[in-house]
Symmetry: C2
Subunit: 125 residues, 2 copies
DNA sequence: TTAACAGTTGAATAATTGCTCAACTATAGA
DNA sequence: TCTATAGTTGAGCAATTATTCAACTGTTAA
């Protein structure tokens, strides 16, 4: 990191920087926030979660729905499981998945509303 | 893609798959939804956006705030600019950035609430 | 018992991506 | 004019990651 790249001598507005730093959420909160959004920031995962927000589904049907392999879906479901975003129940050899985190479901819904309203022809800016 | 990996012959519940597929948002909407979340799904960007939600800031002060380089910040700001998430105004050689997309600001706020409430000691499940 | 299938998993690969470095532009002030 | 500094940018690098492939487990049904 070159010295010239970090404005260590003259920063523009020290008081403002100090005030904002104080008002900001703790590092860990922002890190977890980014992690939450990152889970939703992939087309495959967002499609899986959107589908599961409509109906409980097994791996095979999810794969069929997305036009991809069971393996790819299973890998993503493992990630979503580890983050407590989805839960599952076994019925014989079939595993049914559904949403587990209502907060994530809310964010998904919220995000969808924004996308749809901003995409609408006469949408307000 | 091995044949055995795509359940092409016997899917579990064809009627359900068809119904869900019909009820789901169009591909393009879901893709843009993922893109929106992806922008928020990085610690550096989420910290920049959170800071800008509190105050208009120049590149140098953002870098100071995050303890990183102006270059790293500028790269991320370029991305955020291209997606119309932030806007800027020039004052001499100083460039002030601020949020441009109220929808993103809402999502940020919504996400923060969820993180904070679920992190609180006596938070409801 | 055995064949078929739903699902999982680890390794490998390919693509994406965030940061660093160095060079550059443009503006302010001496 | 000359120097210092705010900011941008492109190339390169290292780390992450989504998917594929192949092998595996476990359950159902013949």
């Amino acid at each position: 990191m070159p010295d010239s790249d970090i404005c260590s001598i003259n920063l523009i507005d020290e008081a403002k920087v100090t005030a904002v730093k104080k008002a900001m959420q703790p590092e860990e909160v922002l890190f977890r926030l980014a992690e939450t959004f990152r889970v939703l920031g992939d087309p495959t995962r967002v499609r899986i979660l959107h589908a599961l927000s409509l109906e409980e589904l097994c791996v095979c049907d999810i794969a069929r729905l997305l036009g991809t392999t069971k393996s790819a879906v299973s890998h993503q479901l493992r990630l979503l499981r580890s983050l407590r975003v989805v839960k599952y129940r076994k019925d014989g050899r079939i595993v049914y998945y559904s949403l587990d985190d209502s907060h994530v479901a809310n964010l998904l819904c919220e995000g969808l509303n924004h996308i749809i309203t901003t995409t609408l022809p006469g949408a307000s800016p």
